[in-house]
Symmetry: C2
Subunit: 299 residues, 2 copies
């Protein structure tokens, strides 16, 4: 049984096609690693890569990508809508198959150590790899962004986990960590009133008293003129998709609003959806590991 | 990309542990083939094996199992609750990955031809491999069972697809064919009135005017004293699970009866359940092939 680990590095370049091509070339150069997806957003000036590979391959590809980005992306000249603090902004490792969260934490630390040692880029460990609860949340870690980091690193509680209290002059600083797979799940409402979506987002997201493993905001889909509750489900076992969906349904009712549909953006583990089928079909005693055919086929 | 084919042979022996062990040994002796599951029912006097393998391995293992069964199971002495016509009763091949139904039909014909040539067991091709619509349905093909087959084979329309109009003296006759994956799906009602389950089964099953790809009966679960609509979903894309579930829900309402839960028995393709999640979560434009992570991992 090969251990399979996913890695989804985010790079602060979404415009320069030459640099993006170089990242793709690097991403596809390591044996035992597959590039499943990559997308670049020019206005965010950011590219997200989705890779999966064995234990060793995934570490190598992550390091080589960070190295390439540090040589090609100059943060002193980088601007975009998306918050960022490094040429490689964040490198999450996610357990996919026959690998534990603990092993992914180990992998994240090995890669972090090597990036710092060979490239002199300081590292914050975040999410499951975080040394303190304060460093779990990427938004908190990144607060201040590239420009504010030199000051932030001087604060007593913000010494990097690897490296000195000093950013890399052009590549900044990078967050590395292990986390659960994340499912981007949006629910569309039959209203153009974005305030309703914002109120509902507040109900479902953990930070304001809702479901612990749900992050969410309300926004307006301008092209369709409908309001949307846009969520990141950061642990679909702790907070299943159907639970936020049904909560949004009954909260929207109070405004006389219904659900038009939903969206799953990008990749999702099959289990995040199978768990929902189990709920709605009221399946008794379902053993996903044993009963789903594909689980027997993944070498 | 390896082509993956499932094979689920049914043997008319569910009591003699020595024979069952021999079948298991044979099932695990072919490179490129995995035995995913096997179960034996003494009162049915029947064993069902679930194998998956590449194009060549699956043909070899199917043949070797039929050979072993023909040497060890004597149908002149076999009795059990389950209808049967041969030592190996039926050998279905199911497309799993990167293989078409047409290719599975070809595989079924090659195996059928070899069984007949080397073992002198006559073969009916059934389901997708059937030469005529009359032979699609296994129950029709098997009607008369082992004891009635010598007479049945004399009827003009019941010449075997391979072999003479004469059963093998001890191994009888075997059905071989290609079919879609089958999902065994049962819905439990909060009533002990089996007549209600029978009426609802009649509504949902294709043969009495319901959904084309659903077979179903009503029965009483004696240990729980509840009625159940027990179904075989023979093409979960043509008739999705949620559609029969919701139909059973609204049909049961007319009797003041609700659904307690459901059961998926044995293996199911992930997609049969993911399709249900898509329906209930109202997911727009979901591309299962691209968006489900595991689909990128299956070599």
């Amino acid at each position: 049984m090969a251990k399979l680990v996913e890695c989804i590095p985010n790079f602060s370049e979404g415009q320069n096609q030459e640099v993006i091509d170089g990242l793709v070339k690097t991403a596809t150069s390591i044996p035992g690693v597959s590039l499943l997806d990559h997308s670049s957003d020019p206005s965010h000036n950011r590219s997200v890569f989705t890779l999966v590979g064995d234990e060793n391959g995934i570490q190598e590809v992550a390091f080589q990508l960070v190295k390439f980005a540090s040589e090609k992306i100059d943060m002193t000249k980088q601007h975009g809508e998306h918050p960022r603090m490094g040429a490689t902004d964040v490198v999450p490792f996610v357990p996919v198959k026959d690998v534990t969260m603990e092993e992914c934490i180990e992998i994240s630390k090995k890669v972090a150590e090597r990036i710092n040692r060979e490239l002199s880029i300081p590292i914050f460990l975040y999410e499951e790899s975080a040394a303190t609860p304060d460093r779990k949340n990427l938004a908190k870690v990144r607060k201040g962004q590239f420009e504010g980091m030199p000051e932030k690193l001087k604060e007593p509680e913000w010494a990097p986990d690897y490296g000195e209290r000093k950013i890399h002059p052009t590549a900044g600083i990078t967050a590395v960590g292990a986390r659960m797979p994340l499912v981007a799940f949006n629910v569309n409402l039959d209203t153009d009133n974005v305030e309703i979506a914002k109120k509902i987002a507040k109900v479902v997201r953990g930070s304001s008293g809702g479901f612990k493993y749900c992050k969410g905001i309300g926004l307006l889909l301008e092209d369709r003129n409908i309001a949307q509750v846009s969520m990141n489900m950061v642990n679909y076992e702790g907070t299943p998709l159907y639970r936020t969906f049904e909560t949004i349904r009954f909260e929207a009712k109070r405004y006389g609003v219904g659900i038009i549909g939903s969206e799953v953006i990008g990749l999702t583990p099959a289990k995040a959806l199978i768990d929902c089928a189990e709920y709605y079909l009221q399946i008794e005693d379902f053993d996903e590991k044993k009963q789903v055919l594909e689980n027997h086929l993944l070498g």
